[in-house]
């Protein structure tokens, strides 16, 4: 990623935080009251940034350094806003405390007959409830998604709190921006208006609980490279009833007529259902996103794939011969889970640059210290990792311990919750 694209995201977040604080910076107020006002506006700015970063548009994602980075900053700015907004009422109380402890409670008491205070409490409780469900990862994705929406309602209620305080222009602009971003997300992303219509062309089982699906465009196709990922929702077919949720999948091959194929592993209720997909099922596709493996230097490389994480590497190998020495370490639970193994072995025989190591590791995260090459063999190599988040974390830690620089470790984790 070039430096400008790397900087755009912090610049945008800094602007959204800095502009309201600059506009509303308190002068001549006591320290704690001024601090409370600044905390409130910084929290509002971070909430706006968090809303902007959940808008899933191709151009925006390219501009801000990718969907994964946007999602990471969406989480960070949302949690930072929550922490500062928790401090907002407490610092207001600290201002009252200077007069008397009783006054400190009166400032924030939800029992006072005061609409701004009631609405402020309502917003904070909605944010609290929304974030607590956000961190409840055991929830099924469908329920989780709807409960996550409480955060959006909390943000709007929070801006109503600012409006009720009589702060007209800035609050009105911020509320309009928040509503616009939420509506944009709901219409373009959740309702799928930005998605292109496709139809399932063929379905092939490639391993235990994993299928490869070929998709054909029904209108203007997306322009994607092999190895990029897309968000796909499957709907109904002759005998299939889809769940209609958008999930990320890597494009593992592109074909004639703008067709492409994706690998789907059963990782949850919806992807389990997708194992029964059939030709003729309607689909909608958003994207493409991601540039993992797109800007590979000419230096020797080490690729490590865990399970379904093989798909971006397979996509590159299917699309073009390698131009740099590459060692592919493919980890899977058992032979029954080793998707595309025969094809990978055939590709390795044909491509002199490719060395394939395929290893069954059993259930759980394998001992990667034994699997990765020693420090001297890692020197000067670019490392690309794709697989479950726990495996990526473990691999990254060992690679760093063995002297590989952070800038030489690249990964894609698909963590969009």
């Amino acid at each position: 990623m070039n430096r400008l694209r790397f900087l755009w995201l912090p610049i945008v977040v800094s602007f959204l935080v800095g502009a309201p604080v600059f506009w509303a910076f308190p002068e001549g107020l006591r320290f704690w009251r001024a601090t409370a006002i600044v905390l409130g506006w910084v929290g509002c700015g971070l909430l706006l940034a968090s809303l902007l970063l959940m808008v899933r548009e191709v151009r925006l994602a390219i501009w801000l350094g990718g969907l994964e980075r946007m999602t990471l900053w969406h989480h960070r700015s949302g949690v930072a806003a929550y922490l500062l907004l928790l401090l907002h009422p407490l610092t207001l109380a600290a201002d009252g405390w200077q007069e008397s402890p009783l006054l400190a409670w009166q400032v924030i008491s939800p029992f006072s007959a005061n609409w701004p205070v009631w609405v402020g409490w309502g917003a904070l409780l909605l944010l609290m409830l929304g974030l607590s469900t956000t961190f409840a990862r055991h929830l099924p994705y469908g329920s989780w998604r709807w409960l996550h929406g409480l955060l959006g309602i909390g943000v709007i209620v929070g801006f109503v709190h600012v409006l009720l305080l009589g702060i007209s222009m800035a609050a009105l602009l911020a509320t309009l921006a928040a509503v616009l971003l939420l509506v944009w997300r709901l219409i373009r992303v959740d309702a799928g208006c930005a998605a292109k219509p496709y139809i399932v062309n063929s379905v092939h089982p490639v391993a235990q609980s994993m299928v490869e699906i070929s998709l054909r465009p029904l209108a203007t196709p997306i322009v994607a490279r092999a190895g990029q990922f897309i968000m796909v929702a499957f709907f109904h077919g002759p005998h299939y009833r889809g769940c209609g949720e958008y999930h990320p999948f890597t494009i593992c091959a592109t074909g004639p007529g703008a067709e492409f194929s994706i690998g789907i592993k059963a990782l949850g209720d919806c992807t389990q259902q997708m194992q029964r997909l059939e030709a003729g099922v309607a689909a909608r596709v958003q994207g493409p996103f991601g540039e993992f493996l797109a800007e590979r230097p000419a230096t020797p490389q080490i690729w490590v794939a865990g399970g379904i994480g093989i798909t971006p590497f397979l996509a590159i190998l299917r699309s073009e011969p390698l131009s740099q020495p590459t060692r592919l370490l493919y980890l899977f639970r058992s032979t029954a889970d080793a998707a595309f193994l025969d094809e990978l072995q055939a590709l390795a025989e044909r491509d002199a640059h490719l060395i394939l190591e395929a290893l069954p590791t059993g259930a759980g995260i394998p001992n990667v210290e034994k699997l990765l090459p020693a420090s001297d063999l890692l020197s000067g190599k670019e490392c690309y990792l794709c697989g479950p988040p726990a495996l990526i974390e473990s691999l990254s830690r060992v690679l760093k311990d063995r002297g590989v620089g952070e800038q030489n470790i690249h990964f894609e984790s698909f963590d969009f919750r």
């Binding site: 006591r30 960070r76 929550y82 928790l86 009422p89 008397s100 009783l102 400190a104 409670w105 205070v117």
Partner: protein
Amino acid sequence: MTRKLFIFSTIAFWIAVAGLGTTSVWWLPAGQGAAQAKEQTISPADLAKHRSPENCWMAIRGAVYDLSTYLPEHPSRPDIVLPWCGKEASEAYNTKMKGRPHSPYADELLAKYRIGLFAKVP
């Protein structure tokens, strides 16, 4: 990491709120009442002399308050509050928003700016 931060900060917040919510149980105000005995009585004519933003007195519920230093901190727009400087403003104070009075917090805060009793015209 962020999950732990969320849990820790939320618990700490509720402990702080619970502590503030119980102030009336453990904190007893002292030294009130003695000052009121010596209060001056301010006439409507005297009150009317203090009607600028820098010198703003208001009569509210039978007492006069010097709000000159507080006005910059008042949350609403200046054009809502300033017209009441130098006047009897109980009605405005009691019907702040949709007929609702100011909060107990505002009552508590107002007491700090009290300078005398308001002598109503008979």
